[in-house]
């Protein structure tokens, strides 16, 4: 956590067009094999991570993604 500035990771609604993002993300997977899809998502994570930059935010996101996967799917 950052010193006195609340949570490092944003979880409030910060996307201007969530439905448009979902549509584009799903469309990017069209015609790919499952392995190709997984690879696409890995590349996407890397690109988005570079937009974020801040290692504290990135580590918090990794931890949260891991944590939520421990719950049932």
């Amino acid at each position: 956590m950052s010193a006195g500035n609340g949570p490092v990771m944003r979880t409030d609604a910060n996307m201007a067009d969530p439905d448009g993002f979902y549509e584009a993300w799903v469309a990017a997977h069209e015609g790919l094999s499952d392995e190709e899809s997984n690879d696409l998502d890995a590349r996407l994570v890397l690109l988005l991570a570079n937009q974020v930059g801040d290692p504290r935010v990135l580590l918090a996101c990794i931890a949260e993604a891991r944590e939520q996967g421990r719950r049932r799917p």
Partner: protein, 542 residues
């Protein structure tokens, strides 16, 4: 399998109206009418009723003699605020409210967890609620009753349109009736005959249809239960093999339960009462007593007509556009098409606007249809993932949505119908957005717009002298002015600071917002809204 016997509710008894031989039969020559509407569904009846109140006597040709398409079967059920406001103006809102189910809360579940909730009342300043659920045939029934009460429409039952000819100065319509055939002439012809319009097809107009592979089974069921009157949806219901489910209450204690089925299912098999009954038992438990009202498997489809006006023919409702059912954007947009077109036809027929004002119907309602198509396709895609990757993406959304607000915005079980904003056009240079039916000064916006076909100029904080100057415009344009206190709730809703004039169209869309308005600025805005300058420009080009 249980040995349960499945009960069906007795069929609804729908009204039938008599065929009356029209004067056209046996007349020597064709009779000419200002407006002829083919199709007495939601869009056609709304337009006829709207026109009747504007003093335009429309001929409505309906091939049936009752309401509903397959009798009392399922069709539209959710009527949105904008539609309810239109019905308030038309005089049937109280009947709808008394019969229907008012709701504003929608809840979305994934598995056994709630992932997303909305309350549309939070954004409402209207006299009407965000939604009322009502079987579509009731709404059509109320419209017919109201049209008959107004006695200003020529409603012709058992009258099937067999041929339509677009001529330069008229549309010639051939009609088949139990007493023979006749032809009539229309200044303006409206195709409101629905998704499978033969009129549209005969004109050779393309709608680029697509049909889903996603399959559903509607099960309308009557039972009494303490379930809340909310819209509940499951993305992946544990009681439906991990597929989606809808749960919605309509009038007469009838619940619309809509189950997503496997794509490769046999539609006949999954809609057998015993199979549908087992699904219901899985959802409701063993103790709830119910009876079926309707079981119907379906695939949804969509289409969009490229132009909503062809000469003197205009297309409204499903004939022009069809979307998937998610978000109630079908019937509500047919109703809004009618409300958009009615006042324009009335002004053109009265000679208060040129006929190119009718081009603004396409310029506004076609982009609205495009928007609805996009929104509904996104929801359909969320609900029917096509690959393992899409399932993963959706699972990630639902997992994170249980904890995080941002992910809730991505869970998409339908973006409910709203009054679409219109893009900038020659008739609305800054675009046009809908105004809710706000109460002010002991009246309501819809009440102010209910008489005749007049714009409403809301002069916020205007003094007596300013109002006198504005009132002089009322003789030049179809507009009446009204002073509103700048501290009124309506001012907050419209952003009306003192000195601002907001021009509201007869369909309750803002045509212009004019800060520190002068009579000249108001006159210019009215010329825009009526297409007068556009008309001059076109004449100059020609």
């Amino acid at each position: 399998m249980s040995a349960e016997t499945w009960k069906f509710a007795p069929a609804y008894e729908l009204p039938h109206w008599p065929f009356v031989a029209p004067p056209d039969l046996g007349a020597g020559e064709r009779i000419r009418y200002p407006v002829v509407i083919a199709g007495g569904g939601l869009a056609g009846l709304t337009l006829a009723c709207d026109l009747a109140l504007r003093g335009v006597r429309a001929v409505v040709l309906d091939e049936d003699d009752t309401v509903g398409v397959k009798g009392a079967s399922s069709r539209g059920i959710c009527y949105a605020q904008k539609s309810l406001e239109i019905f308030d103006r038309l005089g049937i809102y109280e009947r709808i409210r008394a019969k229907g189910i008012t709701w504003s809360v929608g809840r979305t579940f994934s598995g056994n967890d709630e992932v997303y909730t909305f309350n549309l009342q939070d954004e409402s300043a209207s006299q009407q609620p965000p939604f009322i659920n009502l079987q579509q045939f009731y709404l059509e029934w109320f419209l017919v009753d109201r049209i008959n009460e107004l006695d200003a429409t020529d409603l012709r039952w058992k009258s099937r349109v067999t041929k339509v000819e677009n001529e330069a100065d008229a549309v010639v319509v051939e009609v088949e009736t139990p007493a023979g055939r006749y032809a009539l002439e229309a200044d303006w012809f409206i195709d409101a005959t629905g998704a499978n319009s033969r009129i549209r097809e005969a004109m050779g107009l393309e709608v680029n249809p697509s049909r889903s592979t996603d399959r559903w089974c509607i099960t309308d069921v009557r039972f009494k239960t303490p379930f809340p009157t909310q819209r509940w949806t499951w993305v992946d219901a544990p009681f439906n093999e991990g597929r989606a489910v809808w749960q919605h209450l309509m009038a007469d204690d009838v619940w619309r339960l809509d189950y997503q089925m496997a794509e490769d299912c046999d539609p006949e098999a999954i809609s057998r009462p015993e199979v549908a009954g087992e699904r219901l038992r899985a959802q409701l438990g063993a103790d709830v007593e119910f009876e079926f009202v309707w079981i119907g498997p379906y695939q949804y489809r969509d289409h969009l007509l490229e132009t909503f006006r062809v000469g003197r023919t205009l297309f409204i409702g499903d004939s022009a556009h069809v979307v998937s059912p998610f978000g109630a954007r079908g019937g509500n947009n047919g109703i809004q098409d009618a409300a958009n077109l009615g006042w324009k036809l009335a002004l053109v027929l009265a000679g208060e606007a040129g006929d190119d004002l009718l081009d603004s119907y396409h310029a506004e309602r076609h982009p609205a249809a495009v928007e609805n198509l996009t929104v509904c396709r996104r929801t359909a895609r969320f609900l029917a993932p096509r690959s393992r990757a899409e399932h993963r993406i959706r699972r990630a959304v639902c997992t994170l949505a249980r904890r995080h607000e941002f992910a809730r915005r991505l869970a998409n079980t339908g973006r409910m119908a709203q009054a679409n904003a219109y893009p900038p056009s020659p008739w609305a240079k800054a675009g046009a957005r809908s105004v809710q039916n706000v109460a002010f000064d002991g009246t309501t916006l819809m009440h102010c717009l209910a008489g005749g076909t007049r714009f409403l100029g809301l002069a916020f904080g205007a003094d007596a002298a300013a109002l006198v100057r504005l009132d002089e415009l009322a003789a030049l344009f179809p507009i009446d002015f009204r002073r509103v206190d700048a501290a009124d709730a309506l001012a907050a809703h419209l952003g009306g600071a003192a000195g601002t004039v907001v021009i509201v169209r007869p369909d309750a869309y803002v045509a212009a917002t004019l800060p520190e308005a002068t009579p000249d600025a108001v006159a210019a805005a009215m010329r825009d809204a009526l297409g007068m300058d556009e008309r001059a420009r076109l004449a100059a080009v020609a």
